[in-house]
């Protein structure tokens, strides 16, 4: 078969006529969606005072801890724990986390590429 015959075969296609109720069924769905209430917005005005209070509370606690010197003992305990972690398998754990993150990133990119195709 040559180029022209393929063109003729694929151009000469009989189309279909949509069923008589097609437009009506589309409009039914559209109207239903138009009548549905809009999604609720996040109540920022109500949430902001509470969020501000939390931040202030955390800051206040940190200031108190620093002032009382409790953080110094926490720091030394953290240093000891960090040393222990380094001596143990922390390196392998970090590598595993990095690999997991990398594979998640790769999967997301692959999905985007497949979506474009």
């Amino acid at each position: 078969m040559n180029h022209d015959e393929i063109d003729r075969a694929l151009s000469a296609e009989d189309g279909i006529v949509p069923s008589s109720g097609f437009a009506a069924s589309v409009m039914e769905v559209v109207r239903r969606e138009a009548l549905a209430p809009p999604p609720l917005p996040f109540p920022w005005k109500r949430a902001l005072p509470g969020l501000a209070a939390c931040v202030c509370g955390i800051v206040a606690i940190l200031v108190m801890l620093i002032a009382s010197g409790a953080l110094a003992s926490v720091e030394s305990s953290l240093a000891a724990q960090a040393e222990a972690a380094v001596k143990s398998q922390a390196g392998m754990i970090a590598l595993a986390l990095l690999t997991a993150f990398g594979s998640a990133l790769f999967s997301v990119r692959l999905c985007r590429i497949m979506g474009r195709w």
Binding site: M1, A12, E13, I16, V17, P18, F22, V26, G115
Partner: protein, 201 residues
């Protein structure tokens, strides 16, 4: 913009200003104005879906979903492109995703309708059968070539329009069309020989 020929019942020229007027009305809150858009574009969208899936019921479902997405995204139509371009691109993306999600099973060559008995049939019937066999063979092609061919012939062999609907550069579409036709030509002689040898026996 003229849409004729392969799109039955759509012989009138479509006015871009009608589309713009209806879109403005819809965005202003007149839901009923969207029906004008649906009635104006239902033939092309259903036919495009049919070319993708070859199933009337599924074609209408996909076209309905395309209109629903158009309704939701109407505000995002930038007036720099024609409404038809935007609508066809939206519909094409949806149809491609749907076909990826639930593919049309490709016909094996021995399932493609055979040519009728060439001794008994008219030349016209033979041509129709051959054309149908060619169209069905397109479904055995890989999706990227099948989609390029489908859009190209839907848009009456307009590469630019097909490229805009697919969201691909024209060069890419041309390459896929060329490769698609090559693959089609490779499969068709086998089909026509098989059909003919069955008749000869």
């Amino acid at each position: 913009m003229q849409l004729t020929g392969c799109i039955p019942g759509h012989t009138a020229s479509v006015s871009a200003s009608d589309d713009l007027a209806d879109v403005e009305k819809v965005l202003a809150g007149d839901v009923a104005a969207f029906e004008n858009i649906v009635r104006r574009w239902q033939n092309p969208l259903v036919n495009l879906a049919y070319r993708f899936c070859r199933d009337r019921g599924r074609a209408e479902e996909m076209a309905q979903e395309a209109f629903l997405r158009a309704w939701r995204a109407l505000g995002s139509w930038r007036r720099d492109a024609a409404f038809s371009t935007w609508l066809f691109a939206l519909a094409t993306n949806l149809y491609r995703s749907e076909l990826r999600r639930i593919p049309v099973p490709p016909l094996a060559l021995d399932e493609v309708p055979e040519l009728r008995d060439i001794r008994a049939g008219s030349e016209e019937q033979e041509d129709r059968d051959r054309d149908r066999a060619v169209r069905n063979t397109v479904f055995s092609l890989p999706p990227k070539y099948r989609e390029a061919l489908t859009l190209f012939y839907f848009h009456e062999m307009d590469v630019e329009a097909a490229a805009r609907s697919l969201g691909l550069p024209e060069g890419t579409v041309k390459a896929r069309l060329s490769r698609g036709r090559e693959l089609l030509r490779g499969k068709l002689p086998r089909l026509l020989t098989t059909a003919h040898s069955k008749e000869v026996r």
